[in-house]
């Protein structure tokens, strides 16, 4: 197919209107998704930059690259930026915003202006956070534990807290928009049991965003008040309890990790059936497991506090509940593998990321069970074991889900194909780089290397060097897609409506879609993942 030599380009959401005002004042969910794409990519680089500095420091046992106080700021800001400004928005704000109305057959989200407000709140929060970082930063850890954050730290805790408070509202409004849209704006015939599981995953995510985020918002308000007025709410010398902060903080922050992983699971559930040419195994179980994760995720927060001083009885309760929450995640893994069984597998780039997700998320999830066991947790808590555990899930899971989704829907978003062999190469580099970075950290943690330490005993150096080497490879793997995605917008093959032969309403409109999504409002009378009746794409997917 010809590249740029097309006579008249069809009108779509990208070319319908030009000029910066048409982007900054847009209420089109697809344009807002792209605004988010640019913003979160920017913050991904910032967070990655801090990670690079951390890994450079940890090349040697001595603290020789930065000072101890600076190191505290590095891991704090790496965490805050990555969690609040990259991971939490990433899939929902980019892929969710773009796809939710398309997948349900609607013209836009329920509240388009609130959607734009959501992005502006994110930007304001981001600017505040940037200012905070440039004028001294924060050194409390992304967890802001009191009384250090409220009484002893002399860094910009209030500014960082306010930035995260504002970003929380961005998150809440996105969730609110999705829930109302999914309930009220489905096309005729699009019943709940015909919804793509990506929608179920985002619905569950939105519930968590709505119910959890307000708690951290009010907690940050209390931290700011405490720090400014020395009230004593979290200060043991004034009758307060530092653990109260931890309870309130983790009540949100544990469900927050499900905000970060559920959308990625939704992405994988779209990719796997498509590249197995087979309907998803156990649709209802997958849908229900998303809701279960959202609900159970609220029941386990104190497993972050096992050694902090909570009572043994409550620790036992939270430990048992933490085992329970692993079950729905495991159900998803079984359903994905059962879908692939006897399917016709194509190892396209999105599928490679999905494979990576399934393997790495499973490892991360299983190590979570280690941590849920009280006895083991005493040994490995606050060590690199925990760091490896959550990076397997957040990076090996969520980020790979995000990249897989970006590749899968790139043709729909941009109207262009990315170069397939480069895509596969990058996926492989990411996978190898990731494992080299984080597997040694499991060992380091088990051997006793504490987290958040800038110096370590010399016997840990080899593993740290391996980890740093891995991180540079990982960085290359992340840079490649950014380069070729940009390249593809000018030079990539023009994408057909449905390059993958995938199911879903979004593939039944043009690539890119028109501003109001569909030429005619769709009416649905078929089941989801109808792969027996969808022909495989005609064109062989050759390397680009």
């Amino acid at each position: 197919m010809a590249t740029a030599a097309i006579t008249a380009e069809r009108e779509n959401y990208l070319n319908q209107e030009y000029g910066i005002k048409s982007w900054l004042l847009t209420v089109d969910h697809k344009r807002i998704a792209l605004l988010y794409l640019l913003s979160i990519t920017f913050f991904f680089f910032i967070g990655g930059f801090f990670a690079l500095l951390i890994r450079l420091e940890l090349l040697t046992p001595a603290g020789d690259l930065v000072q101890g106080d600076t190191y505290n700021k590095l891991f704090t800001m790496h965490g805050q930026v990555m969690v609040f400004f990259f991971l939490i928005p990433s899939i929902p704000a980019v892929l969710g915003n773009f796809l939710v109305p398309l997948m349900i057959g609607a013209k836009d989200l329920a509240f388009p202006r609130i959607n734009l407000l959501s992005w502006y709140l994110y930007i304001i929060a981001g600017i505040l956070m940037l200012h905070c970082m440039l004028t001294g930063g924060v050194d409390t850890g992304w967890t802001f534990y009191t009384p250090f954050s409220t009484a002893f730290s002399n860094t910009k805790v209030i500014e960082a807290g306010l930035a995260i408070f504002i970003s929380g509202f961005s998150s809440i409004l996105t969730g609110l928009n999705f829930v109302v849209t999914i309930h009220r704006m489905r096309a005729p015939g699009m019943t709940w049991n015909r919804l793509p599981l990506f929608i179920w995953a985002h619905y569950a995510t939105s519930i968590i965003q709505l119910l959890g985020t307000p708690v951290i918002a009010v907690t940050l308000v209390l931290v700011v008040l405490e720090r400014a007025l020395h009230l004593g709410i979290f200060d043991p010398t004034r009758g307060g309890d530092p653990l109260l902060f931890q309870h309130l903080f983790w009540f949100y922050s544990h469900p927050a990790v499900y905000i970060m992983i559920l959308p990625a699971m939704g992405v994988v559930t779209e990719i796997v059936p498509c590249f197995s040419r087979k309907r998803i195994f156990g649709y209802k179980f997958v849908a229900l497991s998303s809701i279960s994760i959202a609900v159970f995720g609220f029941l386990v927060w104190a497993h972050h506090m096992f050694v902090a001083g909570i009572s043994l009885y409550s620790a036992l309760i939270f430990s048992a509940l933490s085992y329970l929450v692993a079950v729905p995640s495991a159900i998803k893994v079984f359903n994905w593998t059962a879908t692939m069984y006897k399917g016709s597998i194509t190892f396209s780039t999105p599928m490679l990321y999905a494979f990576g997700f399934i393997g790495l998320f499973t490892m991360g999830g299983l190590t979570g069970l280690f941590l849920a066991a009280l006895g083991i947790d005493v040994h490995v808590t606050d060590t690199y074991f925990v760091i490896a555990h959550f990076h397997y899930i957040m990076v090996g899971g969520a980020v790979m889900g995000y990249l897989g989704g970006m590749h899968f829907w790139w043709p729909k978003i941009s109207g262009r194909m990315y170069p397939e062999s480069l895509g596969r190469l990058a996926a492989l580099i990411v996978f190898l780089g990731f494992n080299l970075t984080f597997f040694p950290q499991f060992i380091l943690g088990y051997l006793g290397m504490p987290r958040r330490y800038w110096q370590y005993p010399p016997e840990f150096q080899v593993l740290n060097v391996l980890s740093t080497a891995g991180s540079t490879i990982l960085a290359v793997g992340y840079l490649l897609p950014m380069v070729y995605f940009l390249w593809s917008m000018r030079y990539g093959k023009v994408a057909p409506d449905n390059p993958w032969g995938a199911s879903g309403l979004e593939w039944m409109t043009s690539s890119p879609p028109p501003t109001f999504n569909f030429d005619r409002p769709p009416v649905v009378d078929w089941e989801a993942y109808d792969y027996e009746n969808i022909p495989a794409p005609q064109e062989a997917r050759s390397g680009g």
Binding site: V179, L210, L211, V215, L222, L244
Partner: protein, 231 residues
């Protein structure tokens, strides 16, 4: 969702383009407001959690501090808010019946009552300021534990009570101020005749917000003012 007469409603100037008809728009707006109120329940809930834990830990000190609050003003404020909820309900009803003037009257009454609440709150806080009960460097709470005239109240624990008192009533007052601003705008729009039996969604949804703020106070009042008045 299939068969419903849409011919007339599609031409309602208030219909936004991405909705199919006014029914869908109304249902979406309503659900949106209820979800927002759910987030507010969790938001205030965090502070209620902090309050409950410290009340559990320091009950006698909290009781003594609570007794220093003016129960008459607190009860009066509760009554003011309850009356304002009635006027809101009557304003919405007036819109449902197409009575523009009644809407305006009830909305104006709501505003008066809302401002009265804030005024009484201001009086309470001023007296707290004068008594040095505001947390911070000037804090000083001199009292003895209820039933134990020889045991003084722990200053730190009393300060915790007042910190939570001001945080919670302050957050509530902030929500009242926002409510007053919203209802001022609604009053203006109602006076212009914007709300009809076919379309009064902003009025309905703002009413939900106002009632929610009332409910928060319904819980704040006994928890803060009535811990132990038995003397």
């Amino acid at each position: 969702m299939a068969d419903r007469p849409i011919a007339v409603e599609q031409h309602n100037p208030a219909l936004k383009h991405h909705f199919v008809d006014m029914e869908q728009q109304r249902e979406a707006s309503s659900l949106g407001m209820w979800l927002f109120l759910a987030t507010e329940i969790m938001f205030f809930g965090g502070m209620f959690c902090a309050y409950l834990i410290y009340r559990y830990w320091y009950f006698p000190d909290f009781a003594a501090a609570s007794s220093s609050l003016d129960i008459t003003l607190g009860t009066a404020n509760t009554a003011v808010l309850i009356c304002s909820s009635l006027t809101v309900v009557m304003a919405v009803r007036a819109a449902q019946l197409g009575k523009r003037q009644q809407q305006v009257v009830y909305l104006a009454l709501t505003l008066v009552l809302g401002l009265a609440f804030l005024g009484i709150k201001g009086i309470e806080w001023t007296s707290k300021f004068k008594e040095h009960h505001i947390p911070g460097p000037t804090f000083n709470f001199e009292a003895s534990l209820p039933g134990h005239p020889d045991q003084p109240v722990d200053q730190h624990h009393a300060q915790l009570f007042f910190s939570l008192y001001f945080a919670m009533t302050g957050m509530h007052a902030l929500h009242m101020i926002i409510g007053v601003a919203i209802f001022t705008y609604l009053l203006y729009r109602a006076w212009k005749g914007a709300y009809t039996p076919e379309y009064h969604t902003p009025l309905e949804n703002s009413g939900l917000y106002w009632h929610f703020v009332d409910i928060v106070w319904i819980y704040l009042f006994p928890l803060l003012y009535l811990i132990d008045r038995k003397k």
